[in-house]
């Protein structure tokens, strides 16, 4: 056991810090053109897709260097690495694992150069947590699939150029998991219609997407026909690696401490209130545990294990922490809580981030069934 970083890793951290000092203005000074320039510099550094293999245009960074990069960027309140979070997090790693050479050539360079824009089609009107029962039908017709049905809660479908689409290619398959395939579908294909859904903070992020006789070539399929479940589970496990969960939470905690330092409780500074202090200490302890859990998972991955359901731990912790943290902020704000500030926004918005990628109860199911071996519901 050794938590020290090697000299090479320490030098890399120093390089990231210097890059940030040279190129990243504080959030309030970031103008309209900022993201364009920022991305250009990240592309030059090969820090987008940093841990992807070099043969696919990645930076060839180690998982530890990737962790250092993410941690420093998060501390500096930098935007996500790259413009296409969905594409980089889910689609890219799935392409590297399951894609044909043509698919890799077609999609990976755009992902790494901030020219891509993906959305992911998992949930359906009657299919949420129970992804294995998805119904969107794709029927083989010559060299094409013809798709009919609907997806919902599709974030960024209204701006994305492609959708990572899960479809049912064989409704008669022995197991409901073995009749699923993934189709990399252009959003401008005739027959696709996007209807906006406004969320509780008045924003339009997600949509319902309708598919009417949508034709895509068989060559758009990622992985073998009927192997879609494996492709999707690998992609979801990437989302659950656990590291980015903790860096995000560290940011929330710093913000919350700052708020507490500047707040009053019962006519006295809030930090003199024993309950406020203990709540903050408890959050700090749980978030430290998340960071260390992430590092422990990282060590397992470096030693050769694929991310698996045990990484649901950090997803669940985030799910049970975000809303109570916003709740403490709201209590510190007093009557201000009914206003429109950042925490008031988070107190509503966290309801979405907690559910996205699988609600806390779904994470509990995953842990109980796949790790503890308890029977499925």
């Amino acid at each position: 056991m050794d938590f020290d970083f090697t000299e090479k890793e320490q030098a890399f951290r120093a390089e990231v810090k210097q890059f940030i000092a040279d190129n990243l203005p504080p959030p309030e000074q970031r103008g309209e053109d900022f993201e364009k320039h920022w991305h250009a510099k990240l592309i030059e550094k090969k820090w987008i897709g940093f841990s992807w293999p070099k043969e696919y245009g990645g930076g060839g960074g180690t998982l530890i260097e990737q962790f250092i990069l993410k941690e420093e960027m998060s501390k500096a309140l930098a935007p996500d690495l790259g413009s296409d979070f969905m594409g980089l997090t889910w689609v890219g790693p799935a392409l590297i694992r399951h894609g044909t050479e043509e698919q890799k050539k077609e999609f990976l360079p755009d992902l790494l150069n901030c020219r891509s824009s993906w959305c992911t089609g998992y949930s359906e009107p009657d299919v949420g947590s129970d992804l294995g029962s998805l119904k969107l039908r794709a029927v083989r017709d010559g060299d094409d699939y013809v798709i009919n049905g609907s997806k919902i809660w599709t974030t960024r479908a209204h701006v994305a150029r492609y959708i990572f689409l899960t479809v049912r290619t064989n409704p008669e398959a022995q197991s409901r998991y073995s009749g699923i395939s993934v189709l990399l579908t252009p959003m401008n294909t005739p027959g696709i219609e996007v209807r906006p859904i406004v969320n509780i903070v008045g924003q339009h992020h997600f949509n319902q997407v309708f598919f009417t006789d949508v034709r895509v070539p068989v060559s758009a399929r990622l992985g073998a026909e009927g192997e879609g479940w494996k492709v999707v589970m690998g992609a979801l496990a990437n989302e659950r690696s656990g590291i980015s969960e903790s860096t995000g939470m560290e940011r929330h905690l710093e913000k919350l401490k700052e708020l507490a330092r500047n707040s009053q409780k019962g006519g006295k500074p809030a930090l003199q209130d024993a309950e406020v202090r203990r709540k903050l200490a408890r959050f700090e302890t749980q978030i430290s545990a998340m960071r260390l859990n992430g590092l422990r998972n990282l060590t397992k991955q470096i030693k050769g294990a694929q991310p698996s359901s045990e990484t649901s731990v950090n997803k669940l912790l985030r799910g049970i922490l975000e809303i109570p943290m916003a709740d403490l902020a709201m209590s510190l704000l007093g009557n201000e809580a009914s206003g429109m500030g950042e925490w008031q926004f988070d107190a509503l918005n966290f309801h979405g981030t907690v559910i996205g990628g699988g609600s806390p109860n779904i994470q509990r199911n995953i842990i109980a069934e796949r790790v503890l071996g308890l029977p499925k519901d």
Binding site: R282, T285, A289, L292, R296, N361, N365, L372, G373, P375
Partner: protein, 375 residues
Amino acid sequence: MDFGFSEEQDLLRAQVRKFLEDQCPLEQVRQIAAGDEGYCPRLWGQLAELGWLGLTLPEEFGGLGLSWVDLVVILEETGRSLFPSPLLSTLLAATVIDQHGTAEQRQRWLPALIDGSSIATVALLDEQDYLVPQAIQLQGAAGDGGYRLSGEKRFVQDATAADLFLVAFRTGPGDDDLGLALVPRQAQGVSVADTEGWDRTKRSGVLTLDAVQVDADQLLGAAMLGAPAIASIIDYGALAVSAEAIGVCEGILNLTSQYALDREQFGSPIGRYQGVKHPLAEIYVDIECMKSLVYYAAWALEAQPDDAPAAIAKAKAYAAERTCNAGVAGVQLHGAIGYTDEYDMQLFMKRSKWSRATYGDEDFHYDRVAGYGGI
């Protein structure tokens, strides 16, 4: 960066687990718990032979010179099997003697503590049950070239088994007026009484000192060590209890998950129902977090000492709160059988409550975390 155990540490774990499963299954734990001594001298001798009593102590005294990370491996296993022994007390006392003792004191005591011929414990808490050096009240009056100690120490772990006590006392009101005295059980004026508790796998007692003469050579380090030395004992204790608590939670999770698979109600194993499987998933999450916090703290103790007190406070705060929760959930998920004497769940639940209080509960340690975290 390598947040994992070495092959040697994995082997050590397998060895300890096999030893405890073979030599001290829960029937044996119950027998020891029902006895007067509170431990099994035969097994204690075997621990010494296996080298575990001197795991972290220098080789020149018969120890193995390994680290606290290695020790955590053993403590997880002793927690998991609820192994009743004065291991924790003796390790803490030996660690303090090794760190602060004079050459003569280390030579005098460490070989005996490592070969199992002597059992030691630390006596910190006074009438006021508050775990900070400043709350230590027992007075040492200067006299005859040493000190005369009078007073009472409570919550002394393994008091009846010990033949050596490290007694915290003060000669004045300041932080520098605190010292530790090496007091043998047979010294004039020493008496020990067992305190009855529900968890008989962990023994505690009251140590009464009636004008006990402590000569200059019995003063640990031949000096008043001051508050930091005593604070470090609290940290070692908190870390050790947290490491055992991981094993306690694993014991609870294994027992209760198996029961959830075996027990059928409404036509199905109860583990199918979310009211049962979700609390079990939460115990798993807590174990993962406890492992992360404890392993890091054990590593920091030697490699990043400045960060160790905060890391230990986090580990113990989490362990105190969540082990207790696991104990409650474990009994409740079993239903009536969990409330019986004959079924083993109760042993784990009682231990979970011991684990909460010993070396500081969550409130105590969260207050420390707040202080270290600039809150």
